[in-house]
């Protein structure tokens, strides 16, 4: 099996800066409406957690285990040439869907659906044809993100009530619809979500493209030294929070998450968050969101 040289990947320099810019671009300054979720939603509440980067990395690791989803990214998206740009584009999309005005979210979704129609091919490992607009693939990507957000938040973040987790999964249904998944297919509760993921497991495997992409993401070259150190804990959080079966597919091991280790990871994530807030526009974007949320929480 040919393993492409890891040197084919561009460096991850600018990861923080470009992620921050992507985030800022997705939070409107004077929104005409509250978008698809709004300040009282669990979606907004959950988004500010320091575990965000870990959840993002974990969801990529889960998504990549679907050979066809991985092949689509690997063969089409410019992933190797500009991995950071590709990640930033995804961040911008997710932020726009979460916080953008409805019109902006719809425009972003339409654009992604349009791009997806051009993403077709054959996965070299399984020999299967794929289309990125296939609802089954889109659903896997959606489910991995939603489930990772909840799981990582529960494991490493501030506590999340069971009904809030269910509400979050239900709120996310509209995000799945926007990207082109028929409503009837989309899990609307944690139980449905878990059952769906379980049902897809037989199709999952760690292809060389997945192994290579994730090895890159777990230790991205070209980061500032300080960020690289922080990333060790982001990586640990992502790997330790994977389901056992996913970790085994990759062949990773992780030392157990003791309470002390958990605190340490949280501390490092807090520092990463402070660094993120230090990027231009991020604090202001956070404040816009916070002000709306506080207003919504205030008794009328």
């Amino acid at each position: 099996m040919a393993i492409p040289d890891a040197g084919q990947y561009a460096t991850a320099a600018g990861l923080i800066e470009r992620s921050a810019a992507a985030y800022v671009s997705g939070v409107p300054e004077r929104p005409a409406d509250d978008g698809f979720f709004g300040p009282a939603s669990v979606t907004w509440k959950i988004s500010g957690d320091v575990t965000g980067p870990v959840a993002g990395l974990r969801s990529l690791m889960v998504q990549a285990l679907h050979p066809l989803a991985m092949a689509g990214v690997d063969q089409h998206s410019g992933w190797r040439e500009d991995p950071v740009g590709r990640l930033a584009a995804t961040s911008a999309y997710v932020t726009t869907i979460s916080f953008g005005e409805r019109a902006a979210a719809e425009r972003a979704a339409a654009r992604v659906r349009r791009i997806h129609t051009r993403v077709t091919g054959v996965d070299e490992v399984t020999g299967r044809r794929y289309e990125a607009s296939d609802p089954a693939l889109l659903l896997w990507v959606h489910a991995a993100l939603v489930e990772s957000t909840v799981t990582v938040r529960r494991l490493l973040g501030t506590p999340l009530a069971a009904q809030d987790a269910d509400r979050y999964v239900a709120e996310m249904v509209v995000a799945a619809e926007l990207v082109g998944i028929p409503a009837g297919m989309i899990p609307a509760s944690m139980a449905q979500l878990d059952a769906y993921i379980e049902s897809v497991r037989p199709e999952l495997r760690c292809t060389p493209a997945a192994a290579e992409s994730m090895a890159y993401l777990l230790d991205p070259p070209g980061l500032d030294e300080e960020i690289a150190d922080i990333w060790q804990d982001v990586r640990y959080g992502a790997v330790v929070s994977l389901p056992d079966w996913a970790r085994e597919m990759y062949g990773y091991t992780a030392e157990p998450l003791t309470p002390a280790r958990r605190e340490e990871v949280r501390q490092v994530l807090g520092i990463l968050d402070a660094v993120f807030i230090g990027e231009p526009g991020v604090l202001e974007a956070r404040q816009r969101i916070t002000a709306l949320m506080r207003a919504a929480a205030r008794p009328a």
């Binding site: 393993i3 290579e212 090895a215 990586r235 790997v239 062949g251 992780a254 340490e264 807090g270 404040q287």
Partner: protein
């Protein structure tokens, strides 16, 4: 590895828990294992960055990294607390912390700790520009105020009733951000105007929990600089921060200072209102006056007087009260003209024992008064500032250290300047000097670096002129000279009631 054990530089590493956390070179938290064969040239997570030496400079780089965040915090800060107008009010209201949960999400997970360490970084770092230092020390300004309801809730929990019952009058709008809290104006039921500092609910627990995890920091610093002093420095900083979380300690400190300076002609310390002070609420007499920034407009003669008062306060407190207020930042003074200065905020105070103070006094004495370099050196070693086995000539040591005493070596009027304070800071952190290699700051004296790195900077900004040596001689317990300035004369009646301790 170059053995640069300048304790100050080590302390710079301590300046950010961030810094220290990041000094780790531990990989293998998540690494390839299991049974699957690893593709040949695939990057192996966890195994790539095991090589490379730990270096102190990395800690400093990380402070800069955090400062990057700090800079952003601070630039938005004025809009929250300092800027004027309706917009500010609106923004403050919009962002006000309404629940303990809001506090946790704003200041939890290290942000509160970063804020505190940012405050302290200004006397334990070297590589930062003054603007970044200011930025870090103002991190706290970025924190939104509590909503009036949340502040009232804390008051109720602490004082047993809502503020409008506990006080005759209560201003729900905070007048200032304070250390992990905010300050409200109020009038007590017996008619006194007071400042009430109210702590953010849950913040003490959050910071204490984050600081509790120092095993990691200690381990990493030990790898970095295999010295006992690392432990000591870390403990000292941690202890000071933890102390600051309990406002009762602050009230105790302030009482001590207020009692001592009661009746002093120019030093004013607001009295604590005991019955309205608890762990999370501290009430003191309300003080009003000009801010440090306003002094730029004052005549130089007034600035000189203000500087003289601050100078007397710092050294009288140290030598006579055996206490040092480690937070001499510009926001902690109010100026009234004629040299009268109100001293605020006693959260970061350290008390010294006779044994700790003795070598400090002897150092000044042998260097500046007795002119006995060997005895100066012996006391440096006794205090722990210099390793006993340093293969250095005494003249070399004196040459290096004398700069710190420049203002008091000769009896003549001398103007403090920004240049002098910068030179002191540079010398302090001069890792190229052979002396620095054998120098360190023992735990007890860590906080005194504020004299070199804080006080002199402040007096430099005032471009204050005085015969500092003459004033020092009034205060030095081994001289106890007669008054040399009108302010010294004016102190006499106060002094009669507060005799200076006799020297050893």
């Amino acid at each position: 590895m170059r053995r640069v054990l300048a304790a100050a530089t080590v302390a710079a590493g301590v300046a950010g828990v961030a810094a220290v956390v990041l000094l780790r070179r531990r990989a293998g938290h998540a690494g390839p294992g299991g049974n699957q064969p690893q593709p040949g040239n695939q990057p192996q997570p966890g195994s790539l960055r095991l090589h490379g030496n730990l270096r102190l400079s990395r800690g400093l780089a990380t402070i800069r990294l955090v400062a990057r965040g700090g800079a952003r915090y601070a630039t938005s800060a004025p809009r929250l607390f300092a800027a004027a107008g309706e917009h500010r009010q609106q923004l403050r209201n919009d962002l006000a912390l309404q629940t303990a949960e809001d506090v946790a999400s704003t200041l939890g997970t290290m942000k509160g700790v970063l804020m505190k360490l940012g405050q302290m970084a200004s006397y334990i770092d070297n590589g930062l520009s003054p603007s970044v230092r200011r930025t870090l020390s103002r991190l706290q300004d970025s924190v939104p105020p509590m909503s009036p309801e949340l502040a009232a809730l804390v008051v109720e929990e602490e004082l047993g009733g809502p503020p409008d019952q506990v006080f005759a009058s209560w201003d729900p709008e905070p007048i200032a951000a304070a250390s992990i809290g905010q300050v409200h104006r109020a009038i007590t039921r017996d008619g006194r105007a007071v400042a009430v500092k109210v702590q953010y609910p849950g913040i003490a627990e959050t910071i204490a929990a984050d600081l509790g995890n120092v095993a990691l920091l200690r381990r990493m610093l030990k790898v970095t600089a295999p010295s006992q002093d690392v432990d000591a420095l870390l403990d000292e900083l941690r202890e000071r921060v933890l102390e600051e979380l309990d406002y009762r300690r602050e009230a105790d400190h302030q009482r001590l200072f207020a009692d001592y300076y009661n009746g002093h002609p120019t030093i004013v310390v607001p009295a604590i209102v005991d019955e309205l002070s608890t762990r999370r609420v501290v009430t003191s007499e309300l003080a009003d006056g000009a801010r440090f920034a306003d002094l730029a407009e004052w005549p130089q003669s007034e600035r000189d007087l203000a500087a003289e008062t601050i100078y007397r306060f710092v050294f009288r407190s140290l030598y006579e009260l055996h206490a040092f207020n480690g937070d001499p930042h510009p926001g902690n003074y109010l100026f009234h003209g004629g040299g009268r200065v109100t001293f605020l905020d006693f959260g970061l105070v350290r008390h010294f024992t006779e044994t700790e103070l003795e070598p400090l006094m002897q150092m000044a004495r042998y260097l500046c008064v007795e002119h006995d370099p060997e005895m100066f050196r012996r006391n440096l070693e006794k205090a722990g500032f210099l390793r006993a086995d340093a293969p250095l000539g005494t003249d070399q040591i004196v040459e290096h250290m004398a700069l710190f005493y420049d203002t008091v070596r000769e009896s003549r009027p001398l103007t403090m300047t920004g240049d002098y304070s910068s030179a002191v800071v540079r010398r302090f952190f001069d890792v190229r000097s052979p002396v620095t290699t054998y120098a360190q700051i023992p735990r007890s004296y860590v906080i005194l670096q504020r004299i070199n790195l804080g006080l002199f900077g402040l007096l430099g900004e005032l471009t204050a002129t005085a015969n500092w040596r003459a004033i020092a001689e009034e205060i030095w317990p081994f001289v106890l000279g007669p008054p040399t300035t009108p302010m010294g004369e004016a102190e006499l009646s106060w002094r009669a009631r507060h005799p200076a301790p006799s020297i050893a």
